[in-house]
Amino acid sequence: MTMAFISSGYNPAKPMENRITDIGPRHFEEFYPPVIKKNKGKWLYHEILEPGVLVHVAESGDEVYTVRVGGCRIMSVTHIREICEIADKHCDGHLRFTTRNNIEFMVDSKEKVEPLKKDLASRKFDGGSFKFPIGGTGAGVTNIVHTQGWIHCHTPATDASGPVKATMDVLFDDFQNMRLPAQMRVSLACCLNMCGAVHCSDIAILGYHRKPPLMDHEYLDKMCEIPLAIASCPTAALKPGKVELEDGTKVKSIIVNEPRCMFCGNCYTMCPSMPLADDVGDGIVIMVGGKVSNRISAPKFSKVVVAFLPNEMPRWPQTTDCIKKIIEAYAAGANKYERVGEWAERIGWERFFEKCELEFTHHLIDDFRDPAYSTWRQTTQFKF
């Protein structure tokens, strides 16, 4: 059911007529709250007054109070309009979003904080969940950055919004508390294309395929450029070949050297006749110990600590249990200011597996090209 077509003014017969292109985004200064515009570049210090509430103090003596709330990255216009209503009511119509999909409501005096907080905390969806949970600051768990998953992507090995909702429900107390040794950045990418920065997260939830592409030989040559698909394979597992179909006709297609396949799905990106998705083959890899900050130690990549957990709809219990277990072990064992990766390096990865009660399997030993060599133990210093 669609209503009558309404033209915007665009004339398909003359696409260049009055066309506006290359104007870029709106200028950021249009959107600054007055207190931000006035004090930009002149902030003296900040303090987290309680989980989710920050104050920034400027040289002028002005203060801006920020209340941070978790947001789903997927968001309806109805929900955005509610955000606008809150911004109008409390913040003179201004707000911002953070890199990690949080929403920040800013007010210019302390008296405005409590009514704003009360309003935010009172709003719930019909199903019972908070619309605007306050938190995500300091030494706690902040919002999970994530990708599209089954809601909109063609290559995922898991969903995104579903496992994120399930995980944040389990970690919710740590979103609203600051009891951890340092900040805990959890991220999810639904395939190893990694549209988010999950490769440098304290805990990364990564969708991964485990079965080689399913070959649609009958259609492949019609749908795909065979040389492009072959060239896309990072392990040279693909070669051109003739295949006999069930009816006896021979077609040009691609042959997969299956033991060479690392299930990256790059071929499928180039050729839709090679899908990898599988209900049993697909699932989740847990990676741990990455960070992007230069604080104390250099930025680090996350390391694979669980090679595979199954997709368990709708709440992925093995994945959320595993994450909870890692966070509890970290909370109990790490020093103040120590990120997960720094903790694991200090105590040693052998101890990390023991503390987190994770099984170390052969899958976790790197065998992918040159950099693998330097990850093997090349010293007699290790712990029993």
């Binding site: 665009y10 985004p25 210090y45 789903c72 911002r96």
Partner: protein, 438 residues
């Protein structure tokens, strides 16, 4: 009455975290009721079909979206991602479900007024479902039909003074941290640089001329809140060259327990009284700090600006005043040859309008090299790996600097160039043999 039964998704409505399922349902209901009399230009039941197809994926453990087709707006090669459902008869409302990327304002500050205009447009001409925001930073309009693409683009440009973002083998929409707008640690105006480069390079952002995607990200300080160092082909990370400012009275206040360490970030647990020796001085990676007569001293020449001491005592310590940024090149996620962190190509550069030095000595020479030498779907970092860091120096003309490496090479296999070796490579074998018999 819901169009499709969603018993699995319904289980994601409980629990404290905001439920995207509840939100999708409220949008489905709002469209069905249409209390405002919106003239919907795509199927009214699009959200119900979106819930339906997602439920089917939860049942099957597989996605139901097909490869993108080639759709877009006239003259642009990016900003629109084609998407089709592989069960169009079951879910006609999402049979075509294309994404549009809308270039977000730097810093992601908004007015309610502007967001409402976006909502009104997307309500009428799309699914009413967005991402605030996509991973790269864009505002994402999630799901519309092909005939609406030009109409939406027209309304964006004419009514909202707003352009699309990047996708495909283009410059992707640059993004930045909150920066000087609300952070005392920002060493340059991330919003100003982000916006300027976004506008300057609109052609590169909209028309695919690159081997693959290219990302700029701007972090105001080495805390790297937008992860530029891990994600951006060119990462701009704020830094300074002079001394950290010290307010000794505030240092004393931290030591005396009057101010909460780390801006109160650890308030959820009793970590005991603040110990400046243990929590700051001993954790300094270069051990360039000490206490002398109760005062904090810093040997600034030895400081590597990791931010730890400043993070712990924000009221006592300040970033230096000779500010600019470091530029790191080549970061990317693992696909295909493994993840790469950015490598330092410019230790320090001033960030001053109109940013000509950044554009002309860094960005453009690197693009020229990558466009000339890069293979199809080869990121800058992979080209750097294939042709070497020395090649990057050659194309930019930057002088080699020990700051650019973690350590010098451990092999002596140097590719000496002929002009570097006295007398060149042209020699006479007969002359050689006069002294060395065969």
């Amino acid at each position: 009455m819901a169009k499709h039964e969603t018993p699995l998704l319904d289980q994601l409505e409980s629990g404290p975290w905001p439920s995207f399922v509840s939100d999708l349902k409220q949008e489905a209901e709002s469209r069905a009721k249409n209390e405002k009399g919106v003239e919907y230009q795509i199927p009214v039941d699009v959200c119900e079909d979106l819930l339906g197809v997602l439920e089917l994926s939860f049942k099957h453990g597989r996605t139901h979206w097909k490869h993108g087709g080639i759709v877009g707006v006239f003259g642009y090669g990016g900003g629109v991602i084609g998407r089709y459902c592989d069960q169009p008869e079951m879910f006609p409302g999402v049979a075509h479900f294309h994404t549009m990327r809308v270039s977000q304002p730097a810093g992601k500050f908004y007015t309610a007024e502007y967001l409402r205009q976006l909502c009104d447009l997307w309500d009428r001409r799309g699914s009413g479902i967005t991402n605030m925001h996509g991973s790269t930073g864009d505002i994402i309009f999630l799901g519309t039909t092909t005939p609406q693409l030009e109409e939406i683009f027209w309304e964006l440009g004419h009514n909202l003074k707003q352009d699309l973002g990047g996708s495909g083998s283009n410059l992707r929409t640059p993004s930045d941290c909150v920066g000087q707008a609300r952070c005392e640690w920002a060493c340059f105006d991330t919003q100003a640089l982000c916006h300027d480069l976004t506008v300057e390079y609109q052609d590169e952002l909209h028309r695919p001329a690159f081997p693959y995607k290219f990302k700029f990200k701007f972090d105001g300080c080495p805390n790297c809140c937008v992860a530029s160092i891990a994600r951006a082909d060119l990462a701009f990370v704020g830094t300074w060259r002079d001394d950290i400012g010290i307010d000794q009275e505030a240092v004393a206040a931290y030591m005396g327990g009057e101010l909460p360490p780390n801006g109160g970030a650890h308030a959820g647990r009793d970590w005991g009284p603040f110990d400046i020796q243990k929590e700051v001085i001993d954790l300094c990676p270069t051990k360039c700090m000490w206490l002398e007569d109760g005062k904090l001293k810093i040997d600034n020449r030895e400081c590597t600006r990791c931010m730890h001491c400043i993070n712990v005592m924000p009221r006592a310590l300040r970033i230096g005043n000779d500010r600019g940024c470091s530029i790191l090149a080549g970061a990317k996620a693992p696909i295909l040859d493994g993840a790469q962190m950015g490598s330092l190509i410019v230790p320090f550069i001033k960030v001053e309008e109109p940013y000509d030095e950044i554009k002309e000595t860094v960005i453009e020479p690197i693009w020229d090299w990558w466009m000339e030498e890069g293979k199809n779907r080869e990121r800058l970092g992979e080209l750097m790996k294939r042709q070497g860091f020395q090649k990057l120096l050659e194309v930019t003309g930057f002088k080699p600097d020990p700051r650019m490496v973690q350590e010098p090479r451990t092999n002596p296999y140097i590719f000496w160039k002929e002009e570097e070796v006295e007398g060149g490579f042209d020699r006479d074998i007969n002359e050689f043999r006069k002294h060395h018999l065969r």
